[in-house]
Symmetry: C2
Subunit: 319 residues, 2 copies
């Protein structure tokens, strides 16, 4: 008598359909449209009473609209007596502002969790948060999945491994890079560090490399590629330092603004992403591989629904 | 030692500047911009610690963005130790979906209040809610202002009154029309009623008029003009029934989609609105009058700040 239901917002319904296939169910039909003044209407076409409902929405542009749509869906589910409501946000929007860097700033990551909670969400499934600490922002269970095993599998079989070096694009991600290096059989590590020219405070940073990259097939691992400025700078620095090749790997391919152009010109061997936000055809460069996040999400949803362990999915979770 | 501060989102900063002038203060400077992926950044340029802060945002299109920006501002104020945080939403977005018309719908009006509360708002100032009952959706004081006195003053001195009749555009707004008629010295009333042709269930409604409009200067009073479909239909029905002239009055001029074209062609004598959302120049027809809501908002803010009575502002509040 337990019932699993999956509903989706309009940001990327294809992903929900794929997840549903893995779960062996259909996405519950939903009516959703925009009113003339920009407000939105949502309604579920079938009863959800007593169901464990998962509300999938991708926080892609226009992100504020899609977040609001997800909130409306949660509110409607709560009022329709769903037994439990789980937010599925493969990429959690606003998660980068997770602390105050200066006074009088918001902590938007916390706000997002608060908004979902208030609308009626009981728990949240997401993939590779910008900082794992953000799980503590939610007053309820957070199933923090990681795409690392999927990405590592792909890298292991598609990137030359005998001369590979894992590269952290900044000092803050060295721990994750260590996990990558270990899981790939103890690969060497390097990291890029930014040095500010203190005589020219508002000028571009210089990049230095700690570790040996000469003649190496470098694999740069990051959580997201947004405008791709920093990471393309990193590719150039590595190539100038004699790297044999540079492969870019990231979970979230936001690819905003000049990102695609920069990636095209940076000289990377391959760019490997998950589709935690949709990557439209016109952004898919020839050397870009977009892996589906659907199996991971389906496994996460299945575990939550069956109250099984998500521990196996959390293998290699960044700290 | 009490301190009043007014901050504004980017939807309609001109209104905040006008309100600030009435209050004899400056709008507190705020940094606000969009990141490349559509997320937003906000930060206040000056301390707000201990201040009673009013956060003005107009819920105009793109409405979801502007609501989210207001939520970010509230979150930042809360974390910066503002003494109190009051949402000022001259037109409250999502307020029309204030009950479930069918199962499995959200109640978006309630959700809005919940989101503001969760972000950190202590109270809320708004003008002419779609239904006054919505005040009960907020767990805190709601100062529900009405533009009726401002609009009535204008109508009294600009519309021919000797043969005037107040017209309610539908049965649901007769009580408000009664108040208008009474305040204008006991004018006669009429209302438009919609009759559905039951033999053709999905076809347009026919409109009938209850009351005498032949040779009368009709004043149609509504809370908002959105796409203007219904209200322009009403104008036509009144003119076909021999009305001498038809004046349209509404608090919220959303003027979405085909509204301006419809209003241009409907044959109204004058269209009178408040600027609770911005009415850009290109939408301002020659026979359109847009009255400033700034004095009303300033008076409301002053009353809240001084813990004075807003009762005088509530005079003629719709039930
Ligand atoms: N959507 C966004 N796009 C770009 N930068 C952002 C975004 N949201 C937050 N930030 C900034 O990213 C920085 C945090 O990144 P990090 O230091 O890697 O944790 C802060 O300075 C934020 O202001
Ligand atoms: N933004 C909107 N634009 C047009 N209609 C809306 C909007 N929001 C809600 N509604 C609908 O307006 C109706 C409520 O209006 P009313 O019956 O006048 O209270 C409901 O059927 C709603 O679905």
């Amino acid at each position: 008598d337990k019932r699993l239901a999956l509903v989706t917002g309009r940001a990327y319904p294809e992903l929900a359909n794929e997840v549903a296939q893995y779960l062996g169910i259909n996405v519950l039909p939903t009516t959703a449209y925009d009113f003339a003044n920009g407000e939105m209407y949502v309604r579920f076409a079938e009863p959800v009473r007593g169901a464990d409902v998962f509300v999938l929405q991708c926080h892609t542009n226009p992100i504020n609209k899609w977040v609001m749509e997800q909130l409306l869906m949660i509110d409607a589910l709560k009022r329709a007596s769903a037994k439990s409501i789980t937010v599925v946000a493969p990429f959690l929007g606003y998660s980068r502002q997770d602390k105050k860097h200066q006074g009088r700033e918001p902590i938007t990551a916390r706000l997002m969790f608060d908004l979902f909670r208030t609308a009626g969400a009981n728990r949240l499934v997401t993939v590779d948060l910008h900082a794992a600490q953000e799980q503590g922002f939610f007053d309820g269970p957070v199933d923090h999945l990681t795409a690392m095993p999927v990405l590592i599998d792909y890298v292991r079989s598609h990137v030359p491994m005998d001369k590979a070096t894992i590269v952290s694009p900044d000092a803050g991600r060295i721990k994750v890079s260590e996990q990558w290096a270990a899981k790939l059989g103890g690969l060497p590590l390097a990291f890029i560090h930014k040095t500010r020219d203190i005589t020219r405070p508002n000028h571009a940073e210089a990049h230095g490399i700690i570790g040996d990259v000469q003649g190496r097939d470098c694999v740069v691992v990051d959580d997201m590629i947004d405008t791709a400025g920093t990471i393309c700078e990193a590719v150039r620095t590595l190539r100038n330092s004699g790297a044999a090749s540079v492969t870019l790997v990231a979970t979230h391919g936001l690819l905003s603004g000049p990102a695609v152009e920069r990636l095209r010109d940076c000289g990377a061997r391959e760019i490997i992403l998950m589709d935690t936000v949709p990557v439209p055809q016109e952004k898919r460069l020839d050397n870009m591989t977009v892996l589906s996040v659907a199996p991971l999400l389906a496994a996460g949803i299945r575990s939550v629904f069956e109250e099984g362990s998500v521990a196996t999915l959390l293998e290699g979770l960044p700290e």
